[in-house]
């Protein structure tokens, strides 16, 4: 805003805003700090300065084999998102460039599937998984999370593709571009940013999913959300280890999230707020 503001007012607002921001961020910050404490320090009362030990990180790996749930998370989040993109890109493309009278209805219907509460289909999905031996497999979770996020993926892509002007395609054709050239030189460069944003947001959503992951896995295929939920009934001293596991689980997604603030608004409001 171009309004002239006195320096003092600005400093006042700055202090207030930073105070609120740090308050909101505090639980995350405190978990990160605790992850560098020893277990004794972790329960010794409020202290913002840890002894910077890496023991908890080492123990999380040696005691709980942290690498396995981490890799499960990577495979499940990336796998389900990429699969969803493969199905959704053609669909969104067709709806954006060859819309029919029913396109809007189809989109709204897709959105409505997102509103079905997960718990409502817990019984059949669990039984299907039980009988087909898909319980505790990464494949099973990839399929469920892919289907769960498919509507959002189609929607996001649709809103991005719709912004690509159709005239450009025609111009390229008039200039004698072949279909191959059209895709490589005209369409791809304009579609890639939208696809990348969609990819990013949906990896975040799949990474943090914590209903199906807890219901459908036990140990082998458990991603981080299910692995960390199993820390709810601890034995002995474990806060520093819990913090270390938590820090590792949220760090990659936190960083990705910071880069996707704009897409977040768009993706989660289905384009209703821009």
């Amino acid at each position: 805003m171009a309004r002239a503001v006195s320096r003092n007012t600005r400093i006042g607002w700055t202090i207030a805003a930073w105070f609120v921001a740090l308050l909101i961020f505090f639980p995350i910050l405190y978990a990160i700090i605790t992850s560098f404490k020893t277990e004794q320090e972790a329960i010794a009362g409020f202290d913002l300065i840890p002894s910077f030990t890496l023991d908890s990180y080492r123990e999380v790996q040696s005691q709980y084999n942290y690498f396995r749930p981490f890799m499960n998370s990577v495979v499940i989040a990336v796998g389900s998102t990429v699969l969803a993109l493969i199905v959704a890109i053609p669909a969104a493309w067709a709806m954006a460039f060859s819309p029919t009278k029913r396109t809007k209805d189809i989109l709204m219907w897709m959105l409505s599937t997102k509103m079905m509460p997960a718990v409502a289909v817990l019984v059949p999905i669990y039984l299907i998984f039980l009988r087909t031996g898909m319980l505790d497999t990464r494949t099973g979770l990839v399929i469920v999370l892919m289907l769960m996020n498919l509507p959002i993926v189609v929607w996001m892509l649709y809103t991005y593709f719709r912004e690509i002007p159709g005239e450009i395609l025609e111009a390229a054709r008039m200039d004698g571009a072949t279909l191959g050239q059209e895709i490589v030189h005209v369409l791809a460069p304009m579609a890639v940013p939208g696809i990348a944003s969609t990819l990013l947001l949906n990896i975040i959503l799949a990474w943090n999913e914590a209903f199906w992951t807890i219901q459908l896995t036990t140990t082998n295929a458990a991603p981080l959300s299910a692995f960390i939920a199993s820390f709810s009934s601890p034995q002995g001293l474990f806060w520093a280890k819990l913090s270390a596991a938590s820090t590792l689980a949220i760090a990659p997604i936190l960083i990705m999230g910071w880069f996707s603030q704009k897409q977040l608004v768009r993706g989660l409001t289905f384009g209703a707020v821009k």
Binding site: G45, L122, F211, W258
Partner: protein
């Protein structure tokens, strides 16, 4: 441009997504509906029989059901009021000319990216633990008796955690709306001597109305399904004090192995979610044209 050929190609491109979602939506839901009319317990599958409306009747007359409906309502409304009011306040604060706005934004948005079990366990152990948590340290520092949050105020504790997770979402959406507010109009109102409260009520709030609606509707969809936060903190207790509908159904299905009862509960959850969904679809649909 829409020749018959491109149209049939378009149909082919749309088909996989539509068919997959159709299966995903209809098959499990039909199965849930079917199971909801069965006496079917996984511990005793041989005794499966036709139950007619017994499961619904059972669910309906169970005191735990009404407790869970009440808890679901309190949870959703509690989180909504905290996040919407807090979100408006924080969005307006961040929108002010402050130093380091980018970093402030990043700090405020962060809780949204923390997966539910991690968020809940951090709060449970490091913030709200009755002997070692930061709240307890603070209480001792002030000479007060520390509170055992999850035993004494289980539902409130969960509301607090979930509100912390969703406050960034509300803030971000409302901030986006706020930033498209006409600055000149605001300045004119300021020059005319309209006090800050008046400007807020007559300019800012109406401008944000749509975003507020969207925040409320989208959050409600997600808040009806709160699960992991309850699982890792109170496990629904003490008693049913923090059991919402989602958790009640989970318990019926996975801990009591009561397939019929859980399915009936699932159908009730679908009806509830649909009431919200109808409003959301209208809000989104308007924007599509």
């Amino acid at each position: 441009m829409a020749t018959r050929q491109t149209q049939s190609l378009a149909r082919l491109m749309r088909a996989p997504a539509i068919i997959l979602l159709l299966i995903w939506m209809i098959v499990p839901l039909a199965m849930t509906l079917y199971y909801s009319f069965l006496n079917y317990n996984l511990l005793n599958p041989a005794n499966t029989s036709w139950a007619r409306f017994f499961n619904y009747q059972y669910f309906y007359t169970d005191p735990a059901f009404w407790a869970s409906i009440w808890n679901t309502l309190v949870l959703v409304l509690g989180v909504l009021s905290i996040t919407v009011i807090g979100g408006i306040g924080i969005a307006m604060l961040i929108d002010k000319p402050i130093f380091g706005q980018g970093i402030v934004r990043i700090l405020v948005i962060s809780p949204f990216f923390v997966m539910p079990p991690v968020a809940a366990l951090i709060w449970k152990n490091m913030i709200m633990h009755p002997s070692y948590g930061v709240f307890a340290d603070l209480a001792k520092f002030l000479g007060m008796q520390p509170v055992d949050w999850f035993a004494q105020y289980p539902l409130f504790s969960i509301i607090l955690i979930v509100a912390w997770q969703w406050l960034p979402f509300a803030t971000l959406i409302l901030l986006t709306a706020l930033q498209s507010l006409d600055g000149e109009q605001m300045e004119a109102a300021e020059m005319d001597g309209a006090p800050a409260v008046q400007r807020f009520i007559h300019l800012t709030l109406p401008h944000m109305a749509r975003a507020i609606t969207v925040v409320i509707l989208i959050q409600t969809i997600f808040l009806l399904g709160v699960y992991a936060e309850i699982l890792v903190t109170t496990n629904g207790g003490p008693g049913n004090a923090s059991t919402n509908l989602t958790f009640l159904i989970y318990r019926a299905a996975r801990l009591n192995f009561d397939i019929g009862g859980a399915a009936a509960g699932g159908i009730i959850a679908v009806v509830l979610a649909n009431i919200v969904a109808i409003f959301l679809m209208r809000a989104v649909g308007k924007n599509l044209d």
